[in-house]
Amino acid sequence: MTDRTGTTGPDAFTGTTPDTAIRTADAEERAAGPMLAADGRPLKRSLNRALRAQKLRALALIAPLLIFILVTFIAPIADMLFRSVENDIVSETLPRTTTALQDWDHTSGEAPNEDVFRAFYYDMALAAQRKLHTRLGTRLNYEVTGISSLFRRTGRDMDNMGEVYMDQFVDLDPAWEEPATWVALMASPDWIADQADWQAADSGAAEPAFALRDGVGAALPRTAEIYQDFARFIQVEDGDSPIGEEPWPVVYTALYEDLVANPSAAGSFDGEVSGLVAAAAEAVQGFEAPTMKAAFLDSDEDWADPEVWATIQAFSPEYTPGYFLTAVDLKKTPDGVAAQPEDQQIYILLFKRTLFLSLTIMFSCILLGYPIAYLLSNLPLRTSNLLMILVLLPFWTSLLVRTSAWKVLLQQQGVINDILVWLGIVADGNRLVMINNQFGTIVAMTHILLPFMILPLYSVLKTIPPSYVRAAKSLGATNWTAFWRVYFPQSVPGIGAGSILVFILSIGYYITPELVGGTTGTFISNRIAYHISSSLNWGLAAALGSILLAVVLILYWVYDKIVGIDNVSLG
């Protein structure tokens, strides 16, 4: 036993023993890494792969619906939010004016200078040809009453302002009236050839897009710009060829302005048109040319009013908080935010009324719903199931059926008034007015929303163990104390859940207030509908809708914290 180098020590043993087998396996595992699956891959990776496949399969099942909801529902909501701040109509319709107005000081108390009027002339003339000026007028009329008719009146005068120049050019040389003169002057030779091919082919294919001649943009910048607008409009909107169309009067105004600024413009042209332009350049010095400011004031004196210009300036940016300000009875003025005039402050009142009516409906629902939920949760199952039908039937009945029922019941010649008269409580000539006012809205909506209070409340009351109340009574509590100190506190979550649900549903209600609310019992949603379909002020409708949506989402967040969205019960 002293010689340890012999063959008796286990380490020196070279054959296969269980001991060595384990050791080899251990060593192999250390070398080869983690445990393997049946196919030889590491188990961990295999599991991860399976998990990933499972996740992908689940997402693939969800994806079609998710895309569907995003397109049919979320995109519309996003569009509404966008519309509530969108305001590109001013800068799109009057691009030159908004740029020129940037330097004008609205506090000066004077109308802007001739440059702004000139820019405004081109914008208005083009807008009037496209019939866009009335839309802009309507938009600005939301801010300052009367602008709409101002735009409409002046829109009619735009052609006259340009014809002053047109007539003088034509008097000088009748060639100016010919569309061919203008094409030769403005269009690129390539385009003229393409357009001729297109006309010859008559195949119904799209027209080749109008292209300017090289260099004309430098020689007659304004004319080139306006003529190009004209040519593209003729091509796209009318589907005609510019070769056969006499230019709009505004093109002549532009030519006059360009020739005054650049008398040597003829040098950029050759051939027949060069002489024509040279002659015109000489003649324009003697043209009768009233200032644009005078022309506009001649059309309507209101153009001298700095407020009109300040409004255009204030609403030049592409995005505006203006609709949101209107929605809370404020307005955007050039000097910042100000309150609306007293007689136009209606939205805060409407929001307050919506809140007041919704709260009243919510409390009525608590008052009427609690006894029923209590009764249902304490009756034997068979009886309570029967009574539950009385709650579920209204829940399932069409909203319009219930609203029409109330309309029939509450009318002055309706069932309730008839009964009251028959009972002698009310004189026949003195029937109660119960509809088309707040009372009608409250009664009908309490009836419609009551099941939404009873059902969540019932599911909470069902879980309260009866032994607690029995214990309280056995300890000497009166019926009232046992209810108020023991039972009621446990039912508060149910009241909370039902109240929030009823409140959320009622602040967004539209149909019932519209039918039984008259003028005093309507909600903010009725105003939204009015702005969409009657006044066509979509931006304001979108802003009101966004505010309402924000309130509802906050309330749902609270609801989720208290009850959990997943626990929404469908009865």
């Binding site: 499972q54 689940a58 049919t72 529902f73 719903g369 009945t397 309706g414 509908a529 969409i532 469908l570």
Partner: protein, 285 residues
């Protein structure tokens, strides 16, 4: 705490007990009476919205089916009925098929962003209808769907989807996943497993989700009012215009028919719910 009075109850307790029952009776009366009252009124022989002396005396002359005849012969009402019948089933089919697939996906373990996805899918139920209607009106006008049949169907399908998701996921909570594994083990492919094993078990949930989606579309008026045009005028829309402009007693006949349909649907959903609970062994018999 039972609703029965103990034998030793005091007089005060007795009075309160019966007062409470009377209060409950009145509230239940308030809930159900308006719906019941329109049924006899719809048989009124006169164009009144109240009981005529003849009706109160049960004079057969005072009752008639003329408002029902008007509903079935009037071109406006018939067009509205046709539109409703053409819109609601297609919208329901869309929401049920997409919704059931998604609900199965959502109930799988380890779904990434489950809460966020769920919130998006449920949102049509949360957002007030007037806001959905406004948004859809703006957006569908942009893409040329405003005033079209397809636009109304898509809008109604979106509104019905939350109901399908909620009912089907609720059914899937009690679904025993080892059944699908067993089917796979026995050689069934995923499609076969779905139709032969999973579908029969979750069918009650799918059908009641479908009924909810159907009734949502069938009763819906706000969205169709904005997204639709005169060509998509549905039954509720026709009732809405009728109530707002020239209220005619035909509305009461239509309302009665709708109440009967609601009762039929309510019964179906209740039967399905019980069947589903029995299948999942949650309640005896």
């Amino acid at each position: 705490m039972s609703m029965e009075l103990p034998p030793y109850a005091t007089v005060g307790q007795r009075i309160w007990h019966y007062t409470f029952l009377v209060i409950c009776g009145l509230v239940l009366f308030f809930l159900i009476a308006p719906i019941l009252v329109i049924i006899p009124l719809s048989f009124n022989a006169e164009n009144f919205f109240t009981f005529t002396p003849g009706m109160l005396a049960f004079d057969p002359e005072a009752y008639s089916l003329k408002h029902y005849r008007d509903f079935f012969t009037n071109a406006n009402w018939q067009q509205a009925l046709r539109n409703s019948v053409q819109i609601a089933p297609v919208a329901t089919l869309l929401s049920v098929s997409l919704g059931t697939l998604a609900a199965i996906g959502l109930s799988a373990p380890h779904v990434p962003f489950r809460r966020a996805i769920m919130a998006i899918l449920i949102s049509p139920m949360i957002v007030p209808l007037i806001i959905s209607a406004a948004g859809m009106y703006f957006f569908y006008s942009r893409i040329g769907l405003q005033g079209t049949y397809i636009g109304v169907v898509l809008a109604h399908a979106a509104l019905g989807i939350p109901f399908v998701i909620i009912t089907v996921t609720a059914t899937l909570v009690g679904f025993d996943r080892s059944l699908t594994r067993a089917a796979a083990n026995l050689g069934a492919g995923p499609v076969r497993t779905f139709f032969r094993v999973q579908m029969p078990l979750i069918l009650p949930g799918v059908i009641s989700g479908g009924l909810f989606a159907f009734i949502t579309s069938f009763d819906e008026v706000v969205v169709v009012l904005f997204v639709g045009s005169a060509g998509q005028k549905t039954l509720p829309w026709q009732m809405f215009t009728g109530l707002r402009e020239q209220i005619s007693p035909t509305i009461l006949a239509v309302a009665t028919i709708l109440v009967v349909i609601s009762i039929a649907l309510l019964t179906t959903v209740e039967v399905l719910r019980r069947r589903s609970e029995r299948l999942r062994g949650m309640s005896p018999g």
